[in-house]
Symmetry: none
Subunit: 243 residues, 4 copies
């Protein structure tokens, strides 16, 4: 019994080891740069061994993506607990997004692989479910806040917009700006010097625009965000330590 569980622990550890080796390669050299040969030789295990842990390369990639999504989820969960009003909690999640973008750049990059059709199709349904659950949980957290706001009458949804669709707008603007920031060769050349701040202003405008109480001017919003960001820092490290 003990024997078996030790073996299982070793196995799990090996799985983890594979991911630790694959991660930096995937981040810096992409899917093509990641090769089973390289992973195998960088660990001190044989190529065949890796196939005992992951049925194919794609699964390794998705496993890494899941890790990153889980990190985001945990951060979201902590962030959703901050603050009193729903609006502040909503802003806390915006801050979590910003935080994630700035401090977990690699994780943000890893998450993207989930969106690659070819990789997604080759992965096991089990892992696909993990991803769906994680994504669902994040959505739940945010839409839960929206629903709280609705119940508190701090917010009223426009006709034909669900709570989730409200969230989708914030998701889209944050996600889009992150991608553009990461991949646009020349944002500054286009006159966009501080994209992060711009997105803050847009988010504040959106929240106010939806008349989410209490309304805030940009300065107040910005101050609140700064406070939230500072509150997130120790939370983030405690998450990291748990891992």
């Amino acid at each position: 019994m003990v024997e078996l569980s030790r073996k299982q622990r070793e196995l799990e550890q090996r799985t983890n080891e594979i991911l630790r080796v694959a991660r930096p390669i995937l981040i810096s050299e992409g899917f093509q740069g990641l090769s089973m040969d390289r992973v195998a030789s960088q660990m001190e295990y044989a190529k065949g061994t890796i196939y005992n842990h992951f049925p194919n390369k794609e699964e390794i990639v998705l496993a890494l993506a899941v890790e990153s999504m889980e990190l985001r989820r945990k951060l979201f969960e902590r962030a959703s607990g901050i603050g009193g009003t729903a609006r502040i909690r909503m802003m806390g999640l915006g801050a979590a997004c910003e935080f994630f973008t700035h401090h977990c750049t690699d994780d943000f990059v890893l998450e993207q692989w989930v969106r690659n059709q070819g990789i997604w199709d080759k992965s096991t349904e089990q892992r696909q479910n993990l991803i769906r659950q994680c994504e669902g949980r994040c959505m739940e957290l945010v839409s839960g806040i929206v629903r709280d706001a609705l119940m508190e009458h701090a917010l009223e949804l426009p006709d034909g917009l669900t709570a989730e669709e409200l969230v989708f707008g914030f998701w889209a603007i944050n996600y889009g700006s992150q991608i553009l920031t990461h991949t646009s060769p020349s944002l500054p050349a286009l006159g966009i010097n501080n994209p992060a701040n711009a997105i803050r202003i847009h988010c504040c405008t959106l929240l106010n625009g939806f008349r989410w109480q209490p309304l805030m001017d940009y300065a107040t919003y910005s101050n609140e965000m700064a406070v939230l960001m500072e509150t997130l820092t120790p939370m983030f490290w405690s998450i990291k330590n748990e891992q």
Copy 2:
């Protein structure tokens, strides 16, 4: 003289033929799925011939991306001419985005390859410049409208936000929603049933939130957008016919 230009026409046509063959492959099977062998055998030309037209695979991909970006640019240019007030013209560009997303899905996908580092790095500076110009022109069109609005006092920018950064917000929310719509395995499962409409509402909220005159309620906004979309349709076809 005629002789020469006929040869050149034939050459150009061949270049085009390559792109026509490569395009659906790239769209449906991605960069990996696209292979010179395949393109060559699908045309009735030798592999070497392709290399007389494109120095490498990446250039084919970028050439296709440029086509798509040019299409968007043309659509934007036409769209920017619609309507009287700056606000309506701004909405026209939003409509152009929506139109592009719905009717040029493939082009949207093709555009993304520009953001792939590896592909970008292997391409010629000439084509890189084409892309930068195209992107710059699109930005110019939109930020031009913003600047018009400012001059007409129909809009006032918040402190610390440039015209381009205002545009960036709209860019990000549109772009982000497009990507998420295209690649998220399960938007409806998350409760997002009509992402396009949701983004419309967000954009209206943003414009109103920035107090861009004339303010509009959602119904009016939606009607105006519907009109704009209809206006765009013939423009789009005239662009297509020019090609």
Copy 3:
């Protein structure tokens, strides 16, 4: 234990098999004529297998060259043990050169690839060292004999000539004549009918010219050489059998 070593033996044997297939191709058709495709299809192994044994084509070539250089080295080592006086031992090495030229023509050709810059540059340092060691060992053997002669006062070096530079002269004349013999389209047409004998005479003249005792007339020299050549024959075969 036995298990492992059998695998290793099989592996080594496969490596060897590759070399056996590549060798005649390289000899008769040169570097260009040698292709991985050809080697692979001529063995009954997959192309990829070859790359498990040699990281690139160049390494195969150098591996063959090393084999030939080793053969020469062994012959030199045996030859250097023949005879009493240093002069006779020196002549023994000359005989070894002659022997190698006549009986290991292919090996002589293979050795030359070492001198190809492009090939050298692509090879592993490990093999480069093997080559340097082999060359160094040969030089050592010959210059050792020269030094012996100096110690025995059978020879006195001219001012400004080191032992190694004395050797260099013999190396050059032998090497040069071999290359010319191998590659000159028409030595007989130039009046050179017995280049090997000519070089013998030159070598004798040089040795006498440097006053390397005991001096010999051409006839004696020639007889001694004939004896040495006969002594080398069994040595050569024993080396061959060891392989």
Copy 4:
């Protein structure tokens, strides 16, 4: 008539232009590095045009080699006229060799291509004859001197050695040392620091060893060679100017 000869002149000039472009490429990047594409684009002519001047790549290479051989021949011819006694004239040709090695390194490299089997086989008989003639002429010059010495009784050939075979020894030692110097990765590491001087000493030893009158000690030989080298300099430049 005039028309025709002008055309022919232009043609010849074009041939020359091709060689001028191909030469540095061949020297610095070898046979593989030389490509018709490159030559064509570096001149302002089409690839097909080159084929009007040379039936294949190999012929270009041999044409360049012939130029270099001709240069050597001319230098030999001038050198053979220097000095009174046959021995000095013989030394003059040795000096010419040395001169050629040091001042026409590129030409020495180009000459070698003649010895490449694959290239030789693909060349026209016409050019092969040119090469044979050139080589023959060089041999004639040197063996002529030997024959002069014999007639003057300044030299007596050993039994079984023809005049040409005597020359062959000198050819071999000079040629061999040149190749070794050019291609041995590490002559100094083997203790050979001044190969050129070493070969001088060997040549003197050989001449004296064959009792070629007037005998010379090394110092005298060296001085005479220095004088000869200086005499060759202006000759060389006059040849260069003629071209």
